[in-house]
Symmetry: C2
């Protein structure tokens, strides 16, 4: 029986918490806005894997990482299912109070290169990658889980520590998460799955967020073919330079991923709610890797910078910075002052 | 004394109607949503050129082009100051009922290549270009006219008819429009002014509309330098291929056009109001010209297609088409059915 701390009770996190708990782990979660709901009523899960679960409550709910650590730590695993927005909230800072040398970190999050900041902050840590293909949304206390929880776990190899232990921990967690309803595999080819998913997220998710339409409309309105497909081709090239050869039909597969559905991808949902997008880990990190290998990415570069402007717009609306009432002259070289 | 029909009583059209009427022309206007206000109270102009004009009414107001033609036609000039959205409302169809062989058309509108559809529909027509640098807005019945009405008029040369007559008519209209308050010039280098203005409109206006920020924020958030400037460079190349050599500092000039101001350009205002943008004439036509000359425009192409998706989104929201409740499969090759 593992002692698990889960950070990020969103749509993915709720299913992950329920799954681990159902399988026998003791699950503590950290929740801020949902704290009252989770301690009183719990969430209602309408799950294609588990049926209708009324009033699901995690074993323990805490308001902060420190509270969780004090009361239930140390943990065997810290599972991170928060939105990954390093430009706003670096996850490694968030979980620092609960990290111990016996704790493995599970990044059940999207994006490429997301282990880099972990290894930097926790040089001897075991960090497990989880790439999920789940379809799920959370509105209020209702989790609508509409496509099977398919996850590939594997270790992000930390060169500072023994490889065998990392593999062992990743395999152990895979077992803790697996059951007869979901479809979970252990796979050491972590990069492959991350690059594969990035084809969609870096190219389609971003374009949907920028244009304000779901992936179905993006296709019907011409943006998929004219913008996202060229961007996908560039990401295929970055992956190749990074040692990952994706199958020939990968782009066609991603174009058709939501065929028959008007599916709003995550970044579009974020922009519609005026919330921060994961554009850094879904596209920005890939472009950093492209620069390291000297790969040109003209389409992705534009999408990235458009996403960045939109992120700044959202940051301003949340008071992350305040611009002078009168726009400074360009020659003044005004620098935006970000608040903590 | 000229008999003028003006179509499009928006911010620019209101100042144009007032100017022509003040200068002695008889001005009939066609108005739909503003018909009642214009016939009863009139507009209030808060004009930097003309002062505060309370309850300005055009000489005659009509609900349709046909009504205007029946009652006050034929006209010497049809002045078009509508938004130029050929994908939604082709202007040549709109004005057809009022066009005669003695009528000159004045396009006091933005964009490049906008005369092409006119010459196609009215092969022997005289079409006059008006490029304005006015700053003006219309909210309800209030026209706020905040920067001087500076217009350059000149003939779009129609190869089917005698050049001299076209020049004469353009000069005549320039006189009809000029007074001691505004700053009006006759200039045959129509293309030059249109390409010059397109540097801003095709690159900055579009990027602002896509990202949802004004040109000041676009610059401060990095989008000007990373997206709009590369797009501007491409437009400079198209213009050059089309015979227009723009000055070396044109891009820097356009970057600084709104320096010291947080200025929302027209397409951003349109998107914020969920109204159609002029992306076709402000960027699309330029890209058609680029294709004719074999100029590559990778950045502008992406901006164009993103604008197109946004336009389609706005069209759907206005009921211009209705998508099937269930998204058709890609293999069904579903074609969107547009309503008239």
């Amino acid at each position: 029986m593992a002692n698990v701390l889960l950070v990020g009770m969103g749509a993915v996190g709720s299913i992950a918490a329920y799954t681990l708990q159902r399988n026998g782990s003791v699950v503590s979660v950290v929740a801020r806005s949902a704290y009252d709901i989770l301690t009183n009523e719990g969430f209602n899960l309408e799950s294609c894997d588990y049926g209708n679960i009324l009033n699901y409550k995690p074993n323990f709910v805490f308001k902060s990482i420190s509270d969780a650590m004090k009361s239930k730590g140390p943990f065997d695993y810290i599972v991170i299912t928060t939105k990954n927005i390093p430009d706003i909230q670096p996850v490694e800072n968030l979980i620092a109070p609960a990290f111990t040398k016996n704790t493995s970190i599970v990044l059940l999050e999207n994006g490429i290169g997301i282990e880099r900041s972990m290894f930097k902050t926790f040089p001897d840590s075991i960090v497990i990658s989880g790439v999920t293909l789940i379809g799920t949304t959370l509105y209020g206390k209702i989790v609508k889980h509409f496509s099977q929880d398919i996850v590939s776990f594997g270790p992000f190899i930390n060169p500072n520590i023994e490889k065998g232990l990392q593999i062992e921990k990743a395999k152990e967690f895979t077992k803790l998460y697996s059951n007869e309803k979901n479809k979970i595999e252990y796979n050491e080819n972590v990069k492959y799955f991350r690059w594969r998913k990035l084809i969609f997220n870096g190219a389609v998710n971003t374009t949907c967020a920028i244009t304000g339409v779901d992936s179905g409309r993006l296709d019907m309105f011409g943006g998929m073919h004219e913008v996202s497909v060229p961007a996908m081709k560039e990401i295929v090239e970055i992956a190749k330079a990074d040692g990952v050869e994706l199958p020939n039909d990968i782009i066609n597969f991603m174009v058709r991923l939501d065929d028959g559905e008007y599916a709003p991808p995550s970044m579009l949902i974020d922009v519609r709610r005026n919330q921060y997008t994961e554009y850094k880990v879904l596209l920005g990190n890939a472009l950093e890797i492209a620069r390291e290998y000297g790969i040109k990415t003209p389409t992705c570069d534009i999408l990235y910078h458009l996403c960045k402007v939109i992120q700044m717009r959202i940051m301003e609306s949340h008071g992350k910075f305040v611009l002078p009432e009168k726009r400074p002259l360009i020659d003044e070289n005004y620098q935006i002052q970000f608040k903590e």
